[in-house]
């Protein structure tokens, strides 16, 4: 373990030293310096392996805790590692099923489709039809993908986590920890990791997602083959399509990219505002557009959950953005745990108003990321502690905007959100509990108007 600690410290130091010229030995402007250090950390994390790649992914969804340069750099981190020999993958399958892949599937391809820090993916075909939890029966001979947790991944990640915890305890005693709590971050990381290492959780979320969107033929998720799944092996339907990086071909094939961009953004809002459970790891590799003109969500390893109350408050914050209403944004952010000290309220309200008015791009469309990330920064400047879920959600919405823009650059996600948030809030008006709470004030307001 001592040698692994030395490797971690040495790798990080080496990359930080290499970044010195880029940071002009500390004399460059703050943003340039921060970008240089961020790049050094990203390169170190990529070098240090799965635990650090995952830690980087977690940092990339926490703009409330880390500088924008570090968040941007970690977003570009590549989670692609050299493939393991297929014998190691076969060994996991045989250990879990007591049978070779050829006995479980009609065919199994030894060449992997993809290899990431936690799992490796192989193609196969079903030996017999399978009736999934939701959706049509998968036929015998149907294409599936088999996702297998890399042997030893859990152990090595947990060992690295133990070392990282010791380092974090030291960092927690320094000045750097004023902006974030490294131990809390590691705890959150460990929890996320536990979920990701048990592939059944991902499968269950995919099933739930299919069910939630059962009335929407444009949104799909892979069907899970539970008879060929364990905690370390997840077998699911193979979905053909184009990644967001290959859209030219999709357009040529007649895919309606604008329609799908709007629909995909709306589908995400439905996850957040209606169901309170959402795909929290959206990036261009996790979304496909298909020849059937549908949008396919893949890889539900990281998901977010909201309580009904959080859901409604978040809808209100979104409505505040749509209708440029800073008061509403502040009121409902407070209910989500964003407490602005009274002496800062006026300044935050003013800053928020400026943000809401300044979200328009030169092409006339509005920019959610500018608002969301600007709001987090504004709160940070006024020393407001931001609840972790709030930061994650804003980041997820900003990502959805990025993904939608990859499909169709001129999309205005705020305009797309308008009918949706209005409808959700309109429906909430009929909630008896809310009516009971609000009606006396509404009647008083009406009477005040009448006698004015």
């Amino acid at each position: 373990m001592a040698s692994r600690t030395s490797t971690i410290v040495w790798t990080t130091t080496r990359h930080l030293l290499a970044a010195l010229p880029r940071a002009r030995f500390g004399l460059a402007p703050a943003a340039v310096r921060r970008a240089a250090w961020a790049r050094a950390f990203r390169l170190s994390f990529e070098k240090l392996g799965p635990a650090f790649v995952k830690l980087g992914q977690l940092i990339s969804v926490r703009p409330d805790e880390f500088s924008e340069q570090l968040v941007a750099e970690m977003r570009s981190m590549q989670d692609a590692v050299p493939a393991l020999p297929v014998s190691a993958i076969r060994a996991v399958i045989e250990a879990d099923f007591g049978a070779a892949p050829e006995e479980l599937f009609a065919t199994f391809e030894d060449t992997p489709l993809a290899s990431a820090s936690i799992a490796q993916v192989h193609r196969a075909t079903l030996a017999a039809p399978y009736r999934p939890v939701w959706g049509e029966v998968l036929p015998a001979g149907g294409d599936v993908v088999v996702k297998v947790v890399r042997p030893g991944a859990a152990g090595s990640i947990r060992a690295d986590l133990a070392i990282a915890r010791r380092l974090a305890e030291r960092i927690a005693r320094t000045r750097i920890a004023r902006r974030f709590d490294p131990l809390a971050l590691l705890d959150e990381f460990a929890e996320t990791l536990d979920r990701e290492l048990d592939l059944r959780q991902e499968g269950r979320f995919a099933d739930r997602f299919r069910f939630d969107f059962r009335d929407d033929e444009k949104v799909v998720a892979p069907r899970i083959v539970w008879s060929r799944s364990t905690s370390r092996v997840l077998t699911m339907e193979f979905i053909r399509g184009w990644r967001l990086t290959g859209l030219e071909e999709a357009r040529a094939a007649g895919v309606d990219c604008f329609g799908l961009a709007v629909h995909g953004a709306t589908a995400f809002m439905r996850q957040v505002f209606v169901y309170g459970r959402y795909h929290a790891d959206l990036h261009p590799a996790n979304i496909f557009v298909t020849p059937e003109n549908t949008i396919a969500y893949l890889d539900f390893g990281i998901v977010g959950y909201l309580t009904p109350e959080e859901r409604m408050n978040i809808t209100q914050v979104m409505a505040a953005l749509v209708y440029r209403d800073p008061e509403r944004a502040l009121t409902y952010s407070a209910r989500l745990g964003v407490h602005v000290p009274p002496e800062h309220i006026d300044a935050v309200r003013e800053g928020l108003g400026a943000l809401l008015d300044g979200t328009t791009r030169p092409d006339g469309t509005r920019d959610f990321a500018h608002f969301g990330l600007g709001f987090l920064r504004l709160l940070g400047e006024h020393g407001v502690k931001i609840p972790s879920g709030y930061g994650l959600l804003i980041k997820s919405l900003a990502t959805v905007e990025g993904v939608a823009r990859a499909l169709y650059p001129e999309i205005d996600i705020v305009a797309a959100a308008q009918p949706f948030t209005t409808r959700v809030l309109g429906q909430a008006m009929g909630d008896p509990a809310r009516l009971k709470e609000r009606m006396p004030a509404a009647v008083r307001a009406a009477l005040r108007e009448l006698v004015a």
Binding site: D96, F97, G98, A99, R131, P132, V133, W134, R200, G203, R204, D207, R208, F211, R214, I224, W226, S227, R228, S229, T230, A319, V322, Y323, R324, D325, E327, R328, L356, T360, G364, R366, V414, A415, Q418, P419, T422, R423, L425, G426
Partner: protein, 113 residues
Amino acid sequence: MTDDVMRFFAAWMLTHEVADEGLKAAVARGDAEGPEGMGGGPDAFVDGLAAMVAEEKERLKAALEARARGEDTGGTAGRDPALDEIRFEVAELRGRLDSIETLLQSVLRKLDG
């Protein structure tokens, strides 16, 4: 007395007319201008909501007219969501049982081997 009743209904009609004109104006504003063209704030939300309610009203009107003509509108006669939820939970349970059965088979294979 008759005059009072007439005045009462006249007042009721006037209130209705004013409210109706107000709603129509809100619908027109919400319809014509997105949030970009509005001053923003709660009034903009009310206008947006009014426009959506008006759209819903048109859909309802069309559905009622279609029903009067004896056509199948399908829209409101959907399946009970609670029933769907139960179906899903049962199906999810079946998925879990499939997974457990697989584990059992694996154990049996190992014992046999």
